[in-house]
Symmetry: C2
Amino acid sequence: MNNNLSKFSLKHRIAHEIRKLIFDGKLEQGEKITESQVSQDLGVSRTSVREAMLLLELEGLLISSPYKDTRVATISQEEVLELLIPMRVHIETFALKKGFSIWGEGTKEQFKNILENMKKVVNFEDLSTFIELDIQFHELIVTSSEMDNVIRIWESIVHRIRLHFLYQNRKSGTLQKWLVDHEKLINIFVYGKSVDEAVEALRKHIVETNIPDVYLLE
Amino acid sequence: MNNNLSKFSLKHRIAHEIRKLIFDGKLEQGEKITESQVSQDLGVSRTSVREAMLLLELEGLLISSPYKDTRVATISQEEVLELLIPMRVHIETFALKKGFSIWGEGTKEQFKNILENMKKVVNFEDLSTFIELDIQFHELIVTSSEMDNVIRIWESIVHRIRLHFLYQNRKSGTLQKWLVDHEKLINIFVYGKSVDEAVEALRKHIVETNIPDVYLLE
DNA sequence: AACAATCATATTGTCGACAATTAGACAATT
DNA sequence: AATTGTCTAATTGTCGACAATATGATTGTT
């Protein structure tokens, strides 16, 4: 736990560490995770780990029942495609509607920065980092709406979607396409004038990047 | 904390108690709530109260920032009407689609039981109890889908909607109308054959009971 | 061998104590 | 008078220890 640039409380930093283990594949679906082990590994007390794991449970990343062991969640494709992604679309378009007109130059710069960073990593086919940037991008949409609470709800579903996405291990070569997609979107956000156009573009972006073609045909 | 018919862990029972305080108006919007006070009042340790309050924070019922005091959330009508209720509609209709065809007699009995209980309290104009039954009704829709996780997401938004609803202090005399509404709905659930019909009826029910007429006109 | 009762171990649940941080009262400085 | 610094009280954050529970191994009985 060298991560003491604390701005977040310990439980949040621990939760972040565990999330990273899961997203990096160090912890697999259904694998057991115990409080004391994490506690030892990170050199913090079990109480803090408990609170972190409670957070993760409510994000749907961990599953636990009283006195039984805690495990990394398994993801149901049905749930992700039919429930979580539509909810995510609703949350992010809501945030965009509220935020679009109040964005200052600072926010627009942040969008452009994320895009620049994406361009930097696209050639390395570093999916993990790219996904991290994608999350940053969507998180910015949510937080810049300045609607408190929305970020909380967003977090309660987005990590599960991300996990589903990772387990799909997509074929390589799609990063370039994905980058172009983000570039178009950010241009509409930064230079566009119409909220409705931005909202529609975002909706399309989320659906197309998350739902496999085969599923859309049904 | 006489509530030791434990089937739920202590933190869940404590969270339930605090929720009750809020829904019964004993704790008002923006009012401060401290861990040690609750801990003393209920005769449990602060650790358990902390975990309970973390749950409530993630349900949007409490607000806290590091080392600062914790307070009962204030509710934004905009958020409830434009974000939470549409999300709720999506969650419950999803659950209904998944559950409708697998419901056994037991589930149908439970729906009928809830309706009977509603009939018993309708004449007392006991809004609080009626809302409790309404929650039970909708919770049954969600849990009987047998999709794990859905209940978790549902809980992360429904309590906030309920709070908004309570603060509206509606005029009396509406309970009878509300009962009839539930009766129709449950009949469609129990005796109806078409999922689509049930889904559409549920959607209509949620929107109509939660969104004031004035808002719909816009 | 099959089955049930008992026990051991691993893990989570709960607790009280101490540490860190904040906000407000009060004092010192300009 | 306004500002700045210092103390104090209230509150949240973190910790290690002990209690309760579930699971699987072991033993005993048929």
